[in-house]
Symmetry: C2
Subunit: 485 residues, 2 copies
């Protein structure tokens, strides 16, 4: 027994008083605990099971029915857009704007968790800034005019002008500047958000790869000296590398142009892909890499080692900028240094295209007709396929339900991650075809060998194509090693 | 040993191949694992500790420095707005728009998790619809004109008209209508999202209670008959009751007007509060309750039992509508019934003000000068206060660090929930004052009794004011019962 004071009973009473703000014992709790069978399949004695037949998922469209938002099927010029429309991951709302359907929302939420982990591991603190961004902030940095038609602009009922924020350097700098007493001891601050951004693309295309409304992670850092700011810069770049590594995406960090953001140093994280709209050069000899925009058009040899350059196309999934005092000087974002004097903060800004990373991952990992996900982001990790109704294997149907319950009990991290394909009017083959299209990392089938004693289930690893037969215990032991975020 | 085939070593290899899409062993992982001491306090041998001195938190403002977004301190006419500005939970961006600072983001993310749990427990599926909502959708239901100045409107570079969605009946109905083959067997669908909404309030006020940009949970349901739709209606109302019960907020469900949303049946969930902008009547005799808007101004007795009515003010935190076919008829959202005939879907819509629930909870639970949170939503559950530097108790400083590590190891659900107030240049008393203002549910102090053998820590439950002294083991046993979402 632990030594503790006061005794256990006293402590429990104490805790229940501390925790419980007065709340009536309504029937609400019971009501919401009641889930009618029409939402989930209920096992004979166990809990709820997620079943495929209840998913809101406009899948199985014939290819010729999948149209671009502009209504022409010929515009679907990239694989991820076509596949995501086909299996019902996204649905067009207006040009460059998509509804994210349930599978995609799950994948995006997982991606946001991985991003949170990486940003918080280097000291990032999460904030959330409004989309409505007052014109005066943008006029102060002259970007109200510079950004031209890319800004979506509007007026409120009083005639006051706003834009819908595509990025938030102005807003965050004004926010930090509003802190009256900031000491060098408090710095650095690494402030980030994961929110919707808006950009009036002249020609939105490729689905989530280039939209007008999209999710972005934008981080802004505030340091007390250029040296400290560059140290922070390296730290964030390291976190980005770690993120892409965990997602299994081989990105290349290239020197980049600073564009309308400004500053003196900038890098892009490019995911090599044929459909990519960026062109970058890599020197296999010394590792130099740069966006072609930063090189002279005549340049064919590496500026560092004079070796030949290799050119690739890439999708820009991240971008980092060392800004110096470009924004802090405009808004007087200051701190007090060790000598008690006010100094301008040295800033950096760092973007990740959240919806774009998902689409880019699908673009480079998928086959021509089947979605493949970065494993960590798969909306559901496991799909269970019970036998067809009326088949010789039908006796194994209950075994499959039992396996579902066993997995969610024995492998806690897979709770909510296992889907039962209850469309038992379809053959196993037809359902396996669908599972292949959707790209669940693991598909478990109750086929002939499920009737053996002990029963063996067919486990298919869709990322490698490997197939093994495992007992119930084998399945749970195997799945207990799956990483879930 | 479990029976399993193939053997363990084979399985591990298999899994690592299944899981790992090709990824280079870059130094990214190591880089992001490296966290310099300036971000966190590092224990002598343990992991990272979250420390207060590094928080981006413009707290401790003098009361007269806290201004409304309009710049006048007299406009701060409600407690939650004043407290949230004062301790640095929100910061004004423009009238009715606020930056959410790190503590608030943590609380809102917790609230979203509770909402997800309740919505998914009744079969809700999460989607995400764009903010840019095409004018033609709103013209189809005539709401483009009906909504008047509440809609924020804009044009894109091609002159196409949009509004920023305050609600999404049109969008979701058009989305469901686009599904060609919907069978009655698939219904009901309960589709919801938690996203930013926009409403051009003529007079935004009370901080997050009535803003122009805010987070809302909106759910839309599709049923095959009016009876089924009303069953779903009851189910969602039950989930709402459960949610508020878990948050410790005593809401009243009252009959309400359908307003511009339409339909035939509607209820509001009202949180009684002096500052509330709604007025509702309750009959203590029979339980009848209704928004005053739905009653004749002369009505003073209960329409059900003729008993006297009691009037209250409330903050509307939820609203439910049974819509019938009002929207499905406009967009032809149909399903095929049991006889193979196309029928219009019966709809409901259900809103929860996410940012508003947080502010309303703070409004009704806080004291005049200290924030109190719905326990589940507290940004950090525990604040540890080590002795002042140079004090007689300073010897217990390391014990406090050790306690921090012990808690996060022994109570896994509290990882990331424990904050160390490392501002040891301040007295314990001053830091306790701050902790009281911030409303951490549990404050643990290393005072005189930390020098006893065994050391005893002072544990303060801020929601009840109770104080106990516990050993290390007592603290972890006590905290292991804290509910974290």
């Amino acid at each position: 027994m632990h030594k503790c004071f006061p005794a256990r009973g006293v402590m429990e009473g104490l805790l229940s008083r501390c925790r419980a703000l007065p709340a009536p014992t309504t029937c609400g709790r019971q009501l919401s605990g009641y889930v009618p069978h029409r939402f989930y399949h209920r096992g004979p004695e166990r809990g709820k099971r997620l079943v495929l037949s209840r998913m809101f998922q406009p899948q199985n469209l014939r290819e010729d029915q999948v149209l671009s938002p502009e209504g022409r099927s010929g515009d679907l010029s990239c694989k991820s857009q076509r596949l995501m429309l086909q299996v019902g991951l996204i649905h067009p709302a207006s040009p460059g704007c998509y509804h994210l359907l349930p599978y995609t929302v799950r994948a995006i939420e997982k991606l946001e968790r991985v991003i949170d982990q990486e940003m918080q591991a280097i000291g990032g603190q999460k904030v959330n800034m409004p989309s409505l961004s007052p014109a005066e902030l943008w006029r102060a940095t002259k970007r109200w005019d510079l950004m031209g038609k890319e800004l979506l602009r509007l007026r409120d009922r009083h005639g006051k002008e706003y834009c819908l924020g595509p990025t938030h350097e102005e807003a965050i700098t004004a926010l930090v500047a509003s802190q009256q007493t900031l000491s060098y001891k408090q710095l650095p601050f690494l402030l980030y958000q994961v929110t919707r951004k808006f950009r009036d693309e002249p020609r939105p295309r490729f689905g989530l790869l280039r939209g007008r409304e999209f999710y972005m992670k934008d981080m802004y850092t505030f340091d007390s000296s250029p040296e400290a700011a560059l140290e922070t810069y390296g730290l964030v770049c390291g976190a980005y590398s770690s993120l892409f590594h965990r997602l299994g995406l081989q990105c290349v960090r290239v020197q980049a142009d600073v564009g309308s953001i400004g500053g003196t140093t900038s890098h892009e994280f490019q995911l090599p892909a044929e459909v990519g709209e960026d062109r970058f050069a890599v020197c296999p000899g010394c590792g130099f890499s740069a966006n072609m925009e930063t090189l002279h058009s005549s340049q064919t040899s590496c500026p560092a080692c004079r070796g030949p350059l290799t050119e690739s196309r890439g999708i820009e999934v991240g971008h980092t900028f060392y800004l110096g005092t470009k924004y802090s000087s405009v808004f007087s974002a200051q701190f007090t240094n060790a000598h008690g004097k006010p100094c301008l903060a040295e800033m950096g800004c760092y973007g990740l295209g959240v919806t774009r990373i998902l689409a880019a991952g699908i673009e480079v990992l998928s086959t021509e007709d089947s979605v493949r996900w970065p494993s960590l982001l798969a909306p559901y990790h496991v799909c269970l396929i019970p036998p067809k109704k009326g088949s010789r294997e039908e006796a194994a149907t209950e075994l499959t339900g039992g396996l579902y319950d066993l997995i969610t009990e024995a492998v806690p991290q897979l709770r909510g991650e296992v889907l039962l394909d209850d469309r038992t009017h379809l053959t196993i083959g037809n359902r396996l075809k669908d599972a292949n299209k959707f790209g669940y990392p693991f598909v478990i089938i109750a086929g002939k060998r499920a009737l053996e004693d002990p029963a063996h289930f067919e486990v298919r690893c869709q990322n490698t194509g490997e197939v093994v037969f495992l007992t119930r215990e084998g399945v749970t032991e195997f799945l207990s090693q799956v990483q879930v975020v």
